[in-house]
């Protein structure tokens, strides 16, 4: 029982990450009809926004410490961040400690700007081109982006810790009457889950309750008609692209403490996020969220020893197996519309 509760918890947490990435992807597909293979790269750039802010905050000058030596036997140069000079040692350290949450603010304008730039500079020329061309050009862009990041930050993962306040884990078990340490879950992952829920809710609210959102939804359903009504749907779609980029970026920022960002983390998530979107149904926002949670939970269950001992290697293939079963029983995914991406 405890193991099942634990894996459900874990699945929800994983699922929230999947849902968040897939949400942006399906938003772009639904509004613009573009298959964006660079979406994983946007997620990766978001994570590197957190890394960059951390680097900026820890910009340092060096002070020579004569009492210690470096690896060549020379006097050791100790880095002292400017933040500590400006705000004093304690406050400076605290600001650096909170660099990931601060990066949320830092990344939003960057990601929106990047998304708008990408849409205006590249994507808009591909609306009328076949999906295969869109895949190729965005895949090329994804490679270019990740190689640029690699040239700047190297290939190794870069630790980007969460604030100290979120270290350790919360003991759910004691709340539910289990022994201590039976059901524990890290604070930061709980924060991530909450954050994802807020973002997903905000996107839905935005589309549901604002005029802008209504126009966009109408445009998703029938672009031409909305265009005929004299509404400049293109500009709204550009903004939507920026928003989708921001959603992907925020997912990346908050993910940075969970797994240290590296330049290929976007590619690692790319296939998975496409599977999530397709299982949910291309262009369906609730579908993407539902599929994200579903796959997250199933993946967590598949990694349980009890299940692996019956079906060895099931955790290696569960995502794909579920995708196949769902697509065979529900031709357009969980909540897909007819006629989307079938030709």
């Amino acid at each position: 029982m405890d193991a099942i509760i634990l894996q459900i918890l874990n699945g929800l947490d994983k699922g929230s990450a999947y849902a968040l990435i897939a949400l942006g992807l399906t938003l772009i597909f639904g509004t613009l009809g573009v298959v964006n293979f660079a979406h994983g790269a946007l997620f990766m750039i978001g994570a590197f926004c957190a890394v960059t802010l951390n680097r900026l905050l820890t910009l340092s000058h060096q002070v020579v410490d004569e009492t210690r030596t470096d690896f060549l036997g020379n006097p050791l140069k100790v880095d002292v961040p400017y933040m500590q000079d400006i705000f004093g040692e304690a406050t400076g350290a605290a600001i650096i400690d909170w660099s990931v949450p601060l990066a949320i603010l830092f990344s939003i304008p960057i990601m929106i700007g990047f998304g708008v730039l990408m849409e205006r500079g590249l994507i808009k020329h591909f609306y009328k081109r076949p999906h295969a061309d869109q895949i190729l050009v965005t895949f090329g862009l994804a490679i270019v982006l990740q190689e640029i990041i690699k040239q700047i930050f190297g290939a190794n993962p870069i630790p980007t810790p969460a604030p100290d306040a979120f270290r350790g884990s919360f003991d759910f078990g004691t709340m539910l009457g289990f022994d201590p340490n039976v059901i524990i879950y890290p604070y930061w992952r709980l924060v991530y889950f909450g954050f994802a829920a807020i973002i997903i809710g905000a996107v839905f609210a935005f589309l549901q309750f604002t005029t802008f959102g209504m126009v966009v939804r109408a445009g998703m359903a029938d672009r031409e008609t909305v265009g005929l009504l004299g509404i400049n749907i293109d500009r709204r779609f550009t903004i939507m692209f920026g928003l989708a980029a921001a959603v992907a970026g925020l997912a990346g920022v908050m993910y940075a403490p969970i797994n240290s960002p590296n330049y290929h983390m976007g590619m690692d998530f790319l296939v998975l996020s496409f599977v999530v979107v397709v299982v949910g149904g291309m262009g369906s926002l609730p579908g993407a969220v539902l599929a994200g949670f579903l796959l997250g939970i199933l993946e967590s269950f598949a990694s349980m020893n009890e299940i692996k001992s019956i079906l060895p290697g099931i955790d290696q293939i569960i995502i794909y197996l579920v995708a196949i079963i769902i697509l065979l029983t529900r031709p357009r995914g969980l909540m897909g519309r007819k006629g989307v991406m079938e030709d």
Binding site: D13, F71, G154, N156, P161, R167, N259, H264, N305
Partner: protein, 448 residues
């Protein structure tokens, strides 16, 4: 560079030529007196450095490449000579190898056995490389070793830790300086028993591929011999990035030690996740819960940041070693590049010197002569103390380092501290040890 290569087994027969439908011009070179693959004829000799330049191990590959460039510089008489000063063999004079200037070509393994073999083949076929070296994973090492055996060139393995490289997949043309999973277990187990007690229950998370399995097997055997109990050993997919679902059940399993048989990105993520779950602050079975990472790489450990503090593991070499050879290497590497070398860089540098020295001593580039010179060779002064290249399996036997993540690092490179230098005698094993059984060196292949 003009060359006439004709493999002995591969002489084109006239009938075959007609069969292939190729009209060959008459100026065709006749079977020449080439004794072995890519025999250097001019004033230079070409070595092939085959390292991961793209993919997750690209930084490790870059460090290996730096070490190779340094080695070539030293062999050609440049720089301060590095470990050539401290090497017990004095046959290298800084005039290249056998008087021929050392040149090199580089390639990208992409950490895929396929791509690595393609890259190695191009070095052999196109660039005339006489020796291939490098790599940052065991799959690649075994695959390229097999290729070099078939092509008739020497392979000096880079970073490869699986028992199989000099176990069931050993080859007569392949040599490994790096230590292996068995040695990690043998060196680490006593230190673990001393630090954490002999009554421990271990939970293994193991990367689900050959290297992970051999490491799990080795560590299990070594720790169980000292009284530990293995509660569970769980395989994790290689492509896994988030290990939370594997780590979540650990604390409730009755285990009080978590062993992470992961390397590279897997290790960084699983360790980060384990620390996130607060495992290290917990108590289990009335003891402090501990995490062990049997194979540490300082370069990759940086990605785990603070999380490695206090965690025990083993490593082939570390720049803080105080012996003469290590000091000399760190000095010349650090002076040239501004930071200390990694264990991957060390093993690659040493392998290059060892190859050059063997050629020099053998007086020939013939792979069989070189292999003979390396087999059973005892040397010192290249870090790790007195070392033996065992003839039976082409594995180096030397001291192994047990290290711990440093609590107060002075710089981004100063992440590990050496806890113990396990003497060579303690990590030795018989060539027919069951963990290494099943393969055969075969006979040396000079190609031609």
């Amino acid at each position: 560079m003009s060359k006439t290569t004709l493999t002995r087994r591969g002489v084109l027969r006239t009938g075959a030529v007609a069969g292939a439908g190729v009209a060959l011009p008459t100026i065709f070179t006749a079977s020449s007196a080439r004794a072995f693959t890519n025999e250097p004829t001019g004033g230079s000799v070409t070595l092939g450095f085959n390292v991961p330049q793209t993919g997750p191990y690209a930084d490790e590959g870059a460090d290996e490449l730096r070490a190779y460039e340094l080695a070539v510089e030293h062999l050609n008489g440049g720089g301060d000579g590095g470990m050539m000063q401290t090497f017990s063999s004095k046959s290298l004079e800084g005039t290249g190898i056998l008087g021929k200037k050392v040149e090199y070509v580089t390639g990208d393994t992409q950490t895929k056995s396929d791509a690595a073999r393609a890259s190695a083949k191009s070095m052999i076929e196109k660039d005339g490389a006489i020796m291939i070296t490098g790599g940052s994973s065991s799959g690649v090492a075994v695959a390229v070793q097999g290729l070099c055996q078939e092509a008739g060139v020497i392979f000096m393995a880079g970073l490869t830790h699986s028992n199989d490289t000099t176990g069931k997949d050993k080859k007569a043309n392949g040599f490994r300086h790096f230590f292996n999973a068995y040695m990690s277990g043998a060196a680490l187990a006593p230190v673990l028993a001393k630090a954490y007690g002999e009554d421990r229950k271990a939970y293994h998370l193991t990367a689900d591929y050959t290297w992970g399995w051999t490491q799990e097997e080795s560590i299990k055997a070594a720790t169980e011999a000292l009284g530990w109990e293995t509660v569970e050993a769980v395989k994790t997919p290689l492509a896994q990035t988030d290990f939370s679902s594997y780590i979540a059940p650990v604390l409730n399993s009755g285990a009080d030690v978590l062993v992470l048989n992961h390397y590279g990105g897997n290790m960084v993520n699983s360790l980060t996740n384990a620390v996130q779950f607060g495992l290290r602050e917990k108590q289990a079975n009335g003891k402090n819960f501990e995490i062990v990472v049997p194979l540490f790489s300082r370069l990759m450990a940086r990605g785990a940041g603070e999380n490695i503090k206090g965690i025990l593991g083993s490593t082939n070499w570390h720049w803080s070693l105080q012996d003469e050879g290590s000091q000399a290497f760190v000095k010349s590497f650090g002076t040239k590049y501004g930071f200390p070398p990694s264990q991957a860089a060390h093993t690659c540098y040493v392998q290059t010197l060892l190859y050059a020295d063997a050629v020099q001593r053998a007086g020939s580039f013939d792979p069989c002569a070189v292999a003979e010179a390396l087999e059973g060779y005892e040397f010192d002064g290249l870090g790790n103390g007195p070392t033996l290249y065992r003839a039976e399996d082409h594995q180096c036997f030397k001291d192994v380092l047990v290290v711990r993540g440093k609590e107060n690092p002075t710089s981004e490179f100063d992440l590990l501290e050496v806890v113990e230098v396990t003497p060579r005698g303690q990590v030795e094993y018989a060539p027919d040890h069951p963990m290494f059984a099943g393969g055969a060196l075969g006979s040396c292949n000079p190609g031609a």
